[in-house]
Symmetry: C2
Subunit: 249 residues, 2 copies
C-alpha cells in the first residue's frame, strides 16, 4: 500500500481545529490540486470562494446550523457549481448557449465537476497532515449564503469545506460492505437480497456505536437512514436551483 492510498483510507472528518491558519502556499496548492481534477469536456464549471472575513465566517457557521468549526478552522472554502462564466462566454462569442446552461445535463455536469475538484482538494490537504470537514449544512439557507457571498445566477454554493490542523482524534464509521456497493455486470435490485445485506451491515454499525459509547448508543444504519430521510429537509432546493436558472429543461 502506497502513502496516497494510506492517506485516502485514513480519512475521517475533523470537527475541531487548532487556531493555526493555512499559509497562502498551502491554500494555493490545495486549489491547484482541485483544478487538476478531470473536467467534463474541459468545461471547468466551478468557482471556489475562500472565506477569510471573520464576520462572514461567523455568519456562515450560523447559517449552516451553528457548526462552530465553520468559523474556527485553518481555512474555509465554499465550493460553487458555476455556469455564470459560460454565460459571459456566450455573450462574448455571440452564441446562444442558454438552453445548454439551463439543461439538467449541464446542471449535473457542474455538480460533478465541482465535487471532483473538491475531493482532490481534500486528498491534497490530508496528505499535508491537515484535517477536513465537508459542510453540507451550507445548503440549509442558500438564499442567505447567496446574499452574503454575492453569488450571481447560474451559480450554486454546493458545500463548504473546513480545513485545518486537527485538534481532536476522530473515528471512521464503517462503510457498507464492499459487495453491497460494488457489483459486477449488472445492478442486482432484488429486495430480499438487499434486505439481508442491510441486516448484515446493521450489525456492524450497531457494534460500532456500542463500542464507541460503552454500550449506551443503540443504532443501526437502516434506523439512522430512515430517521434522517423521513425528515423533509431543504425542500426549497428545487425552487432555489430554478431561480438560479439551472436544471430548468
Amino acid at each position: 500500500m502506497n502513502s496516497t492510498i494510506e492517506t485516502i483510507l485514513a480519512h475521517r472528518s475533523v470537527r475541531k481545529f487548532k487556531k493555526q491558519p493555512l499559509t497562502t502556499e498551502q491554500i494555493e496548492t490545495i486549489v491547484r490540486c482541485a483544478q487538476s481534477a478531470s473536467t467534463s469536456s474541459f468545461i471547468q464549471a466551478y468557482t471556489i470562494i475562500g472565506v477569510t472575513d471573520k464576520e462572514k465566517k461567523q455568519k456562515l457557521a450560523e447559517l449552516s446550523g451553528n457548526q462552530p468549526y465553520v468559523a474556527e478552522n485553518g481555512h474555509f472554502f465554499v465550493f460553487c457549481a458555476d455556469l455564470y462564466r459560460h454565460e459571459v462566454i456566450g455573450e462574448i462569442e455571440g452564441r446562444d448557449v442558454i438552453p445548454s446552461l439551463e439543461s439538467t445535463e449541464k446542471f449535473m455536469v457542474s455538480l460533478i465537476d465541482t465535487a471532483l475538484a473538491a475531493q482532490n482538494a481534500v486528498i491534497a490537504a490530508e496528505s499535508m497532515g491537515l484535517g477536513i470537514c465537508y459542510i453540507g449544512g451550507l445548503r440549509n439557507r442558500l438564499e442567505e449564503v447567496k446574499a452574503l457571498l454575492q453569488i450571481p445566477e447560474r451559480v450554486i454554493p454546493l458545500f463548504g469545506l473546513a480545513v485545518g490542523y486537527p485538534d481532536q482524534e476522530t473515528d471512521k464509521k464503517p462503510r457498507l460492505p464492499l459487495h453491497h456497493v460494488y457489483q459486477e455486470n449488472l445492478y442486482n435490485s432484488d429486495k430480499e437480497k438487499i434486505q439481508k445485506d442491510l441486516e448484515e451491515y446493521n450489525k456492524v454499525v450497531a457494534n460500532y456505536y456500542k463500542e464507541r459509547t460503552g454500550g449506551v448508543r443503540e443504532d443501526t444504519w437502516t434506523g439512522q437512514m430512515s430517521n434522517m430521510l423521513s425528515r423533509r429537509v431543504r425542500m426549497y432546493m428545487k425552487e432555489f436551483v430554478e431561480k438560479q436558472k439551472m436544471d430548468l429543461r
Copy 2:
C-alpha cells in the same frame, strides 16, 4: 511537495490502455478508496458497477459515442447515483422516505456523494501507476445503458471510468488561472473583469494548441466552450431523471 500531491498534479486522461487487466486486489483497493470518501450524513448514495463482460463493454463503448477505450482497458467502472437502497430501507423500517428521495436536495446529494467517491478511486488508481479516463459519454443514451445494466428506479448511471496501464503519453491542458477560479470572501461577477480574465486565458489555451499541433490548430477556450455549449446535447436528461423518480420536488 509530497508524492500524493505529485500524483494529483500529474493527472491527465489516458485514452489508450495496455491489455493487462487489473487484479482483483487492485479493483478492491480502488473501491475501498472510493468508499472512504466523505458521504453526506453517512448516506452512501452510490453503487459502482464493474463491467467485465466483453459484449457489455463493447455495447457501452458504442453507446458512449464509439470510444474504443470503453471496451479496451484494464477495468471499466460505472458510477451510479443510488437512492434505491434507501427506498428499501424505508420499506423495512416502515417510514415514509419517498418525499426525501424524490427531492432535488437528495438528487444533488447523490450526485455529489458519487463524484467524491469516484475521485478517490481515480487518485488511488493513479497512485498505483494506472491511468484513467472519465466517460461522460455514458450519458448519451441512458435508457439503453439502464436496460443493459438492469438499473432500477432511483438510480442514475452518472459516468464511466476506464482504468488501466497507460499505452500513450498525454498532455495536460492548462487550467483556468488560479485567481479566476479562486476568489476571496465574495463572488466577483463583474462581466468586464471576467472578459479580461478570459482573454488572458484564451492566449494560454491558444498557445497550448499551437505548440501541440505545430501551429495547425487555432482554438481558444471561449471559442471551444461556445461551440460546445451552443450544441444542445442530452436534452432528454430532465425527462430521464424524472422517470427514475429523482429531482421531482
